[in-house]
Symmetry: C3
Subunit: 350 residues, 3 copies
Amino acid sequence: MNFTAKEIALFLNGEIEGDAAVSVNNISKIEQGKKGTLSFLANPKYENYLYSTESSIVLINKNLELQKKVKATLIRVDDAYKAFASLLEMYQQGKQAQDIGVHEKSSIRKNVLLGKDIYIGEYVVIAENSKIGNNTKIHPQVYIGTNVEIGENTIIYQGVKIYDECKIGNNCIIHAGAVIGADGFGFAPAEDGKHKKVPQVGNVVIEDFVEIGANTTIDRATLGSTIIRKGAKLDNLIQIAHNVEVGESCFIAAQTGVSGSTKIGKRVWVGGQVGFAGHIQIADDVKIGAQAGIQGSVKKEGSVIQGSPAIPLANFQKSSIAFKTLPDLRREFYSLKREVEELKKQLKNK
Amino acid sequence: MNFTAKEIALFLNGEIEGDAAVSVNNISKIEQGKKGTLSFLANPKYENYLYSTESSIVLINKNLELQKKVKATLIRVDDAYKAFASLLEMYQQGKQAQDIGVHEKSSIRKNVLLGKDIYIGEYVVIAENSKIGNNTKIHPQVYIGTNVEIGENTIIYQGVKIYDECKIGNNCIIHAGAVIGADGFGFAPAEDGKHKKVPQVGNVVIEDFVEIGANTTIDRATLGSTIIRKGAKLDNLIQIAHNVEVGESCFIAAQTGVSGSTKIGKRVWVGGQVGFAGHIQIADDVKIGAQAGIQGSVKKEGSVIQGSPAIPLANFQKSSIAFKTLPDLRREFYSLKREVEELKKQLKNK
Amino acid sequence: MNFTAKEIALFLNGEIEGDAAVSVNNISKIEQGKKGTLSFLANPKYENYLYSTESSIVLINKNLELQKKVKATLIRVDDAYKAFASLLEMYQQGKQAQDIGVHEKSSIRKNVLLGKDIYIGEYVVIAENSKIGNNTKIHPQVYIGTNVEIGENTIIYQGVKIYDECKIGNNCIIHAGAVIGADGFGFAPAEDGKHKKVPQVGNVVIEDFVEIGANTTIDRATLGSTIIRKGAKLDNLIQIAHNVEVGESCFIAAQTGVSGSTKIGKRVWVGGQVGFAGHIQIADDVKIGAQAGIQGSVKKEGSVIQGSPAIPLANFQKSSIAFKTLPDLRREFYSLKREVEELKKQLKNK
């Protein structure tokens, strides 16, 4: 990219102070600004950097009163942070819009339905009877199984693997290396000590506006569907087992694991490295701290819990503090016990 | 697939009640049945659904006495669950049997030995001197290194990476994104503070009937072999370090990690997110709860343990309950201590 | 490989005892030795194996006095372990040197700069404007985004995905399935309950001599860079969030997760499955035990901590022992409390 202050001010409906012809080809934090980069100042804590930054252009709030001379060209807007975010968004959309067309080094099998304005990169495989919606981008080395449906405006990054029969909604993002629809972990004990695989013939359904992190795995249902409801956001390296349901607008941080058939309500926030037992229910609006172990259902909406096994957050914090001094408590207890023995003797002798 | 009730009854040796000509092309849970799907009823708890389901065909137990009229065509069999499972298995085997041949968009290097009736998908690489057994399926975008041996009837899903020299047995399944044989994490401290890589020149040996989950990583041995014994089942996102041995018929749930040179016995069950220290032994038939931390060897066969560091399960449960009220215990203790001080004074004065 | 004892002794500057013409084509532990393999004996504990091993050649220390007759050809060197390690290194470098050239089944897009003596395997994609340094190896099925720079003597294993704009240094190793530069997990709450994605327009910078394990994920910065400093070693399945900085010569074991904007000092050792909160600082030379949860900054250099929340290691060990008998302590406490009540009564009555 290469934009002048004049072009940016026009896009943002902002006012220029300084050289309108100066141009930028990158962005930076204001404290790390270099010639040719654009920065923003929203937090007054960072105002000092405004007077020393090497950035060529800085977005600032309309009402900011300058204390010193500024080298950069300034663009005054109503809300410098929002203006910056909208620039970034425009920039990213511009980049993605460049990816278009079906690369000749890809393998589109029979009876595949491709929408308009899609992108299919090198070494992608799209298997029989799958459908890809309009404006969806399938980056290189992705595998899409048979009978898969992918909606519109969805981005599937490099190397994602989607097994047969899975459904992905509109406006989703799936990051590199994620695996959607591998077999659930199901085995029936057998008399000879060998375990018999239970066929996993369900699928995975991912609704609209879902984001899935890199190398996350979501297993197909034994029967029926493993479901990620609309607007849920999953971070990297998460494990979602067969027949799980993740509710609308949930946030799940990295390396969390959810065991089979567990149902998580709406707007649940889950920290990193949390583990959920199987076959439990989590109420709406629950918040779960990092590394918690959820062994049973959480029935109260809005609960805030932590620990393994998880207990209310305030309890966990107090108990953790007490845990630190547990050896002292123990020593003092046995000392007190001896004193009480002594008292008993003395009392007897009186 | 499209099967009539007549064809299914014939295969299962069952008896039809209702329209023998009705056909199905999918399966469903009885409570989610739709026209054209087949369901089963095994658990009496769900009998009500039998009278309301929209499924076209339902498998039921021979001896079930109907309480009301049923819309679906029924097929009576000895054991409805087992009959259903055997249908699924037949269906899955039928699907897999369709994948056959070596795709022209693959790269088979020199001196590779390919068995009969194998499948090699698009963008697969099989490096020099490797052998693939009869009836094995290598799905698209898999990498097989040099001198690798893979047995018969094994399925390697999309994008699996198998480094040089590794051996995979017969009847194994390896799910998408798994990495077999990357270097173990070994470095020798050096005087200049920089760490020198210890060459990892061993391999990974996976015996027969093993299943490996999506994005799981199994590192090659420094010297010798990292071994997964026959019939072991590993879930997704598991880390197996160099020189580990996982015993026969072990079950390991997702996101568990096993450190270097640890040896796990036979039929050990391991919950999710468990961590094992290195260079320890776990006896046969041990059961380990989710999120446990195993810091030392577990010598007693059949032990059931949980917690980090792990202790016997019953202890862990009691201690966890006590942990919740630890701040109360602490408060009450110091109150009692003051009372005892008071008693001592009173006694002195008597 | 196939080497005679004479060739090996020449390379190691060692002295041969036995048949100098015997040759080996593999290596093995001395206790697992077979004809045609080379072993070493460094630890006196294993000396017995020297007299029974089937290895064809064994490296031993110069000063070792034999107790019995040995079948293998011996090569005496100053330090048998170091000599063995240098052989392995030579062997591995020899193997890697064989990979050379750009495979015709790869996709090198426009304006890519390729160094000398590089290797690019099958189904690799290198996107626009990227640079690959001299002697770097890019194994099959890797994806390199636009404007990526990779230094010299670096090895990128199969299926690694590197997003746009990331920088990788010299002498690095990145193992199969790692994902470098996926979007950080950043969303802004919105009034309608839907979360708006915060564009992630920074990158990842990996300095020289870094090793990254299989299926590890390192997210790009929101703005600026996520940085892995020189000489840091990361194991498999690790999550590094946006804007994190991992210090020089850190060691991080498998399945650890570091939340956004956290800064880890130099030479920090981190066990497996550790979790770090976001926006904290860890001082230099800190050591952190497996499964720890680091909720706040660790300011003291050289601290050794464990537990979740983490406390000094010695405290954690004592508290964990006390935790085991917590239910007993509790029972005894309430029993003591009743005794004290009784004493109080008795005292009153005297």
